[in-house]
Amino acid sequence: MIASLPPGMILLIGSLLLPLLRGRIQAAWLLLLPALSLLHLVSLPQGNTGEWSLFSYQLTLVRIDSLSQIFGFVFHLAAFLSALYALHVRDTTQHVAAMIYAGSAMGAVFAGDLLTLFVYWEITAVSSVFLIWSSRTESAYHAGMRYLVIQVGSGVLLLSGILLHFHETGSLVFNRLIGSDGQLLSASPAVFLIFLAFGIKCAFPLLHNWLQDGYPQATVTGTVFLSAFTTKLAVYALARGFAGTHLLIWIGLLMTLFPIFFAVIENDLRRVLAYSLNNQLGFMVVGIGVGTAMSLNGTAAHAFAHILYKGLLFMSMGAVLYRTGTIKASELGGLYKSMPFTTVFCMIGAASISAFPLFSGFVSKSLILSAVADNHQLVIWLGLLVASAGVMEHSGIKIPYFAFFAHDAGIRCKEAPWNMLLAMGITAALCVLIGCLPQALLYDWLPFIDTGTGVQVRAASVTPELNFQPYTSHHVVTQLQLLLFATMAFAILVRSGIYPPEIRSVNLDSDWFYRRPFLGTPNGGPSPVERLSTWAQTLRQKTDTHVLTRLRQTEHLVRGFCSACGRQTNSIRAMVVWVSVLLTAYLLFYYLYV
């Protein structure tokens, strides 16, 4: 019975037990769920299982291959570590939402057909919003609503695309959707809709703002869960369906670049991390767009490493928020005295995301950059190098510097709770381990191989043949040059007072376009939307009056005409009779002549 369950189902079903449990037993069950689910996953055979037909649809509930495995594995790891981080929370809603969210993301990664993918896709959207709403503030409620509308919108686009696709091809199998030319323009509208749905969840430029709007509003522990699943599920879906789509190179490059400027001036440190998350997704999207075995493996490796170090950074900022009650850079500083362990863990996360040698980001991002260099795409390569310096700025330096160092804001608090420290400690250790032993821990598990005729997902029996050595002296020295000179620039800018101070503020982003119309004027006047509706009402009233006057005038005319003809028409009965006479005549005419 249990053996035939799809991966993730243990979390989905097991989460329903959580409301019945209390205190430590609930906490233990929370940790046990991802662990049991992982054991279950390991026991499942490779290949497709759970095939059945629903009406004319052929569904494949489970497909286990090397690509779904690596994402499924890191999702389990993230679910376990985030659950450990959230262990002190006594809020059943959050725990249930988090487990359903993680379970559905796992289910989606192992879905073999598009319809199953869609079902899980929507469950992730609906369950994750409760992690935002659980903050139980008014702004979190509104942000959650905006998040939900956009996430469900992505699902609607996905379903439309899937149904169109099924209509065209008669197949629901989720494999490569883009044609062999890699051109989105020559793809069918169905494929374009699916691409757009994936793009929303992957936070493509201008479709991105749900990420920076929603994530910083979630609870301390909710953000850690959120950072792992939604966007990486989209990366997985793009890697599966749109590998080698040329447009993705440019979309990805834009994604790596524009968030770095927003991150420099953002005051909310969890929002800085959301921008940084967007920038890291860009590297993965470029890897998918380039479409060689090395670049796609780079994307998978980077997603793996990224889930860990980004989770670690969100954990450390969550710990700061939990202990100090604020996450605004303008109010923090000097926390290394109160929270030394959190400081060290945060700096390990920062070193990993900035790709310092011996940390995980170095061994994963290099794959993507090398793949781009192998293709001789100089502009893209330079762009990614700019983005790498940008990462160093906002995640490598700004996050730890303004939270833990800078000027001492005088906050004295306790170190983070033991479960948070343990979760951060394990995650930090994994970041260093992956950075030091990339071959055994990462490269040997990468899913793509080049068969000579094209790039394919490797079968379990085929050994990966990734021939990449990140630790050449040239690579280490040049990377250190890039990062340390950037740090030197920071030191000079801060000491000369040029570096912009942290200011309590909000920065406009693309959400302005859908939020501004609902805002009133500063002195309490009506918002544009209110003005528009008032205007529409007045217009309607005016039209009504106008039409009524005209009707009265016509009535008057008709009456005048009729009385001139010598007939009385003030009886409705007469009118009804005349109408029925006309209709009967029309009917007769129709049957006789048409």
């Binding site: 290394y336 400081t343 260099a373 940008g390 990062l483």
Partner: protein
Amino acid sequence: MPSKNRQSLDDRSNVNKLVYGLYILCGLLVPIQFLFEQHPHFAVEKFPGFYGIFGFVVFVAIVLAGKLLRRAIMREEDYYDR
């Protein structure tokens, strides 16, 4: 990067030591590059200290661009709550 030595960073001279250490490290990294075999993909990489100069210039450019961006998009903290 500042060290995590307790209380020490309140002392300006300790911070100075760290920063000067960083400058010296950067200064050393450029000549060290030529001790090893290099395998550049692009011609620009052959320029001495390319990565260092690139990192420094780009970092400064990003920060200055951020300052400009602030003029255009920064609003009061309660902008969306009024």
